[in-house]
């Protein structure tokens, strides 16, 4: 049995980009990202690609990666191909910027027929830009599919998907009939590296691109439900008292004395 997997991948600003990469307009209080800021594919989505590749290794799969947005950086968004995914579809339109989770899920749901047959959709648990953890769940409602969240392991057997869901203490085994949506977490393990061969073959592949018009989406329908009133940098007024000493041993001793003195223990 060979299954069709669609992995949803978002291109996001590198969460480790220096704070100077961000600019907040003093009047509009809105955030913009300066040119030259590094972008990556969302970390959990790279894990989602890894999860798909493991299924390809074990049961056989055709993997299509789908990303919605604008201003894609080709080297970045092609990474899943160099890891071993088969196809890349970009839903790309100037109207596909600054979308909220609901509109994102709405567009993805409309694109599903264009993407073609899918047995299993794999997403990241959340995108590291807005940390919403919403798109897969809204999508599951729109498509009427089960959504199994925070998987650290995915098995496919006989038209059924079974995951190990990470719990605060331990894990839970849950199942659903295919087609279904699964979100993955870092507990699944490190994504594999792209091989040289993978990078070469990714270079030769061209993504299929669909615009709002191609997807029959009226961009007037993309109004958000949430309005960002303002963005600010959290102000920390904490003052850290730094301990000094002749050597580390003395610092360790002072640390204990200081905590005792302040009745912290």
């Amino acid at each position: 049995m060979k299954i069709d997997i669609t992995v949803f991948v978002k291109q996001v600003v590198d969460p480790d980009a220096p704070i100077s990469s961000f600019h907040i307009d003093p009047t509009s209080k809105q955030l913009s990202i300066k040119p030259d800021t590094p972008f990556i594919i969302n970390g959990f989505d790279e894990t989602a690609v890894e999860a798909a590749l493991r299924l390809k290794d074990s049961v056989g799969a055709n993997i299509t990666v789908v990303s919605l947005g604008y201003n894609f950086v080709m080297d970045v968004i092609k990474k899943p191909l160099s890891m071993g995914a088969d196809n890349l579809i970009l839903l790309q339109d100037a109207a596909f910027q600054n979308l909220d989770s609901f509109t994102t899920a709405k567009i993805l749901s409309k694109a599903v027929s264009t993407i073609g047959n899918t047995d299993l959709f794999i997403c990241g648990r959340q995108a590291s830009d807005w940390d919403n953890a919403q798109v897969p769940l809204v999508l599951s409602e729109l498509l009427g599919l089960p959504c199994l969240t925070i998987a650290k392991n995915i098995r496919i057997d006989n038209n059924t998907v079974e995951i190990e869901k990470v719990l605060p203490e331990g894990h839970e085994v849950i199942q659903a009939k295919l087609p279904a949506i699964v979100t993955v977490s870092n507990e699944l393990g490190e994504p594999r590296y792209a091989t040289l061969r993978g990078i070469m073959s990714a270079g030769r592949k061209t993504p299929s691109i669909y615009t709002a018009k191609d997807l029959n989406i009226d961009t007037a329908d993309l109004s958000p439900k949430l309005i960002i009133e303002e963005i600010s940098v959290p102000n920390s007024d904490k003052k850290c008292e730094m301990l000094s000493g002749d050597n580390s041993i003395e610092i360790g001793r002072k640390l204990a004395l200081k905590l005792r003195e302040s009745r912290i223990f």
């Binding site: 969460p15 704070i19 961000f22 648990r125 959340q126 590291s128 830009d129 807005w130 940390d131 919403n132 953890a133 919403q134 769940l137 809204v138 599951s140 409602e141 925070i150 990470v166 719990l167 605060p168 203490e169 894990h171 839970e172 085994v173 849950i174 199942q175 659903a176 009939k177 870092n186 109004s223 958000p224 439900k225 949430l226 309005i227 960002i228 009133e229 303002e230 963005i231 600010s232 940098v233 959290p234 920390s236 904490k238 003052k239 850290c240 008292e241 730094m242 580390s248 041993i249 003395e250 610092i251 360790g252 001793r253 640390l255 204990a256 004395l257 905590l259 302040s262 912290i264 223990f265």
Partner: protein, 326 residues
């Protein structure tokens, strides 16, 4: 008056502390607070909710099912919201809460703000405004809602101080029975495997000693564990240490791990990334041991020691021991 509905959670027959926080959050913007629980065998939880400020309690009961999976819960709340129309719905950021919120919002066609740390009312529109960390906590956003409706806000644990219970509060308890369609349930639970590490539970620990990538391997966690035991607490970890396989992921603290608020939080070899700090912002006193004087953790800590933990910790631990004996 703005009506607020809280989707309550209970733990072993008790109103859980996150629900008490939600009641405090609701109380900060309204006097018209209702709260819903699953199961009609929850009289004592309902009465407790009234003591903490609810004026109305809904106990939802289904004849067919009692498993309260996310599927069933969403169906139950959807049923309730066919009968009442609050303008704000609050729920807590738990795994279940984060899964229910977006699905319910989609069914009701309303907006949702995840992982919020405070709420207010816009005096003009009377719609809620939520404050929430974004970009892993490096920025803070204020979000409002484009339309009226039972707009949904998911609140992060540790965001609100719990109100004092009042025995004189009065409230109304109402049982509502609903019907679960088979099609409402499409995820099947096979089994739950709980890990019980023993010792003090991380969430309740008054002291947490957390280790990060700077520890360099799994062995040093034993030293951290000894220190934690001495202080009556538990060990914790950064995601980097968990991902490296040095300690189980159940110990991960942060945005996508546990949210803790101990009286004392000691970090060892942790850089203090915003995603880590998102899980310990409720800690009263943070101590940082890190060899890099420019590490972000020193912007978040109250007391800092710059240096190699291998040299600092042994003398710290032995002095703590001496002090505890005297």
């Amino acid at each position: 008056m703005t009506e607020i509905l809280i989707l309550g959670e209970q733990a072993n027959g008790d109103l859980n502390s996150l629900s008490k926080e939600l009641l405090a959050a609701a109380d900060s913007i309204s006097d018209n607070i209702s709260i819903a629980f699953l199961g009609n065998d929850n009289r004592s939880v309902a009465e407790d909710a009234i003591r903490y400020g609810a004026s109305k309690v809904y106990l939802l009961q289904s004849k067919l099912l009692n498993d309260w999976s996310v599927d069933t819960r969403v169906a139950a709340y959807e049923h309730l919201l066919g009968k009442i129309s609050p303008s704000v719905i609050l729920l807590g950021k738990t795994q279940i809460g984060q899964d229910i919120g977006p699905r319910l919002a989609c069914r009701l066609g309303v907006g949702l703000s995840q992982d919020s740390i405070s709420i207010a009312l816009d005096p003009k529109t009377m719609r809620p405004v939520a404050t929430r960390p974004v970009l892993g906590g490096r920025m803070i956003a204020k979000v409002s809602f484009a339309e009226d409706g039972p707009n949904i806000i998911v609140i992060r644990k540790g965001s609100y101080d719990i109100n004092k219970p009042n025995d004189n509060n009065e409230g109304d308890i109402q049982e509502i029975t609903f019907h679960v369609e088979q099609s409402d349930k499409n995820i099947h639970h096979i089994q739950t495997i709980l890990s019980d590490p023993g010792g003090v539970k991380l969430e309740n620990a008054p002291v947490i000693v957390a280790g990060g990538r700077g520890l360099g391997g799994p062995e040093p966690f034993e030293m951290l564990s000894d220190l934690a035991k001495l202080l009556g607490g538990s060990v914790g970890a950064s995601r980097a240490a968990c991902d490296a396989g040095w300690i189980d992921h159940n110990y991960q603290i942060g945005l996508t791990g546990k949210n803790v608020s101990p009286a004392l939080y000691i970090t060892v070899g942790i850089s203090g990334a915003s995603q880590h700090m998102a899980g310990c912002s409720g800690a009263k006193f943070i101590v940082a041991i890190n060899k890099d004087p420019d590490a972000n953790i020193f912007k978040e800590a109250s007391l800092g020691a710059v240096g190699d933990w291998e040299k600092i910790l042994p003398s710290f631990i032995s002095t703590v021991k001496d002090l505890l004996e005297t």
